[in-house]
Amino acid sequence: MPSRLHEWIVTVDHKRLGILYIATALFFFAVAGVLAALMRLQLAYPNATFLPPDVFNRLFTMHGTTMVFLVGMPFFAGLANYLTPLMIGARDMAFPRLNAFGFWIFLFGGILLYMSYVTGEGLAGHGTAPDVGWFAYAPLTERAFSRGTSTDYWILSIILTGIGTTASSINTIATIVSMRCKGMTLAKMPLFAWLMLVVSSMVLFILPPLTAGQIMLLLDRYLGAHFFDTQAGGSAVLWQHFFWLFGHPEVYVLMLPGFACASEIIPVFSRKPMFGRPAMIGATIGIGMLSSGVWAHHMFTVGMTASSNIYFAVASMAVGIPTGIKIFNWLGTMYGGKIRFDTPMLFCVAFLFQFLIAGLTGVMLAVAPFDWQVTDSYFVVAHFHYVLLGGLLFTLFGAIYYWFPKATGKMLSEKLGKWHFWLLVIGFHLTFDTLHFAGTLGMPRRIYTYAPGRGWDTLNLVASIGVIFQAAGVACLVWNIIRSLRKGEPAGNDPWDGWTLEWATSSPPPEYNFAVSPEVRSSRPLWDLKHPEDPDWRYE
């Protein structure tokens, strides 16, 4: 056993590192889920005293930070790591040791964040976690208002995980650009790899504003600099610009890996090639570019000029165009297909529906005057949970059911999978549909309790009950994984009759992935192999 543990610690194999990333992401997902459940318990009924306000502040800060930096980002890195080399017919990532470096620095960043619960110092004394919110607006984070070290834990852990993400993104780009197997031109590359290429390129541009902001904040806190110090003429709004210059494209960095999974799963389970593949690639690049120019729609209430408001409102709505194209791509793929509703596909179908609604509320929020009304309300909370839970998390769960057989050689139980799916769907809608209404009725986000009789009582209770269903759904997944690892049905190499190269090798794949380097002639190489009488390359 110690030697097996040692093997995992010193590994530079992209598949093991991919699994480590995803296992870590699932672990932090469970932790952040517990934090969220505690908050919903406190908010289930008015004037609750289950949690004191200072603890509540720490919970929502840690929940948000964890979900974005320690769940969403490692899921992206893990999927990119595990699948990209397999899909492009390579034996490993371009830089295996850089890969291991990226993972461990990320993990230490995550551990550092949670160390604050033991060693951090804040207003409440020793053992205080960060409590400044996940976007940590200045000047709240300055030394005068955030005493002690808890905010520094937040800053440093985000810088560290950022270094890990940058390393992994550079590695992914180099792998996709330089390691494709013979015949795999960019035009024939799987959509998954295309989307990962776009996301990784985005990371190169969006993480530096965050890192720079954090360095400036550290300089302010420790060397007495004045970047965000309003007393010395510094600008608190500048922090908001830097943060959202990262923060808004970050939503797409989190979301595009979900799109990437859906773009592999939906065609296979519809038994049709991707509808409008070039449009899909174009739309992805369009999203990448547009999303970098819309950041200040998070700042409508700051008091920008009217022309800025108009620009950011219109630009934000424009992102809806490439995103809409994608929805039509997926629907067009399903249209007329022989659809199989296995668990991965169920998650993707729910994703289509939920992500559409998330997009529509997004367009609503892009209307500046509407945003002035509902900003920092539960409407916003419901909106971005629809994006990240209803959109991203559903596709990621779909991806787990789809690729788990490849990674382990064992099938996950369909029955438990369907329990997982339906419990999560019910729980998700109970919680987040109702929160839209609470928000429009004026419930602000981040309050630790509320007075009865404002029309929010029932809505909040229903939202909290939804958590029970969601937790039960996730428990089904955990049990499913444990059960399958112990006595799962053998998967074979190609359980879903897939078309991309990862299904051509054994499950789990050997360390070298492919005994002979593959050679491809179309974007569905396995279709060509299975149907030599009617291969794709004749038509591409």
């Binding site: 590695n171 180099a174 013979k182 015949g183 190169l204 541009f205 300089l219 593959p518 299975k530």
Partner: protein, 200 residues
């Protein structure tokens, strides 16, 4: 379950016909992209805060054009290119000589920065906490200087490896280091323009 498919080589494409970009070059270009963005943010902060300090000293009162330092740093781009060419041609002594020259020019640049900073701190009492000018000046110039330090460390390592005779045949790797050094120089041109020309 569908039967397992096996991948076979059709041999339709010869290996010599399938050439993709070098992975190290791709990675280093990606690194430059992200570093460039990082510097841009500090430059934006610098420009945003020009003239917004609530107290003195101001840039025009205290800053002098670092002409000599700039000449040193920019000419070190030439020396590193000569060293690179020497390594490609396996002229090891020439390589060591010109790498050494690059390091000396880089050190001279850093010495000038140190003299400038000491002058600002001692004679004008300008520190990072004095005003917004101090804050943005020291962080932007300091960020660049830290990159010079990283580059010098790497160059020093290659020089030591060269003296021990292990740099033969490593010209592909040294090329990337030379790229990095050119990048640091190019960033200095931007920093120089913003801090000493526009902001003064």
């Amino acid at each position: 379950m569908t039967p397992t498919v096996s991948l076979e080589q059709t041999g339709a494409i010869r290996q010599s016909e399938w050439v993709l970009p070098d992975r190290s070059r791709v990675a280093v270009l990606c690194l430059f992209t992200t570093e460039f963005t990082l510097f841009s943010i500090f430059v934006v902060a610098y420009i945003f805060y020009i003239g917004k300090s609530l107290s003195g000293p101001t840039p025009s009162q205290v800053l002098e054009l670092p002409v000599w330092a700039t000449i040193c740093l920019l000419s070190s781009s030439i020396t590193v290119a000569v060293a690179e060419r020497a390594l490609k041609g396996e002229q090891m002594q020439r390589f060591q000589l010109w790498t050494g020259a690059t390091i000396l020019l880089g050190l001279e640049f850093l010495r000038n920065t140190a003299v400038e900073w000491t002058h600002l701190i001692r004679d004008f009492h300008l520190t990072i906490s004095t005003n917004l000018f101090g804050t943005t000046f020291y962080s932007l110039v300091g960020l660049h200087a830290s990159h010079v330090v990283i580059g010098l460390t790497l160059l020093l390592v290659t020089l030591i490896l060269g003296l021990r005779g292990s740099m033969r045949g490593q010209s592909r790797r040294f090329e990337l280091l030379a790229w990095y050094w050119h990048f640091v120089d190019a960033v200095w041109v931007a920093v120089f323009t913003v801090v000493y020309v526009i902001g003064r």
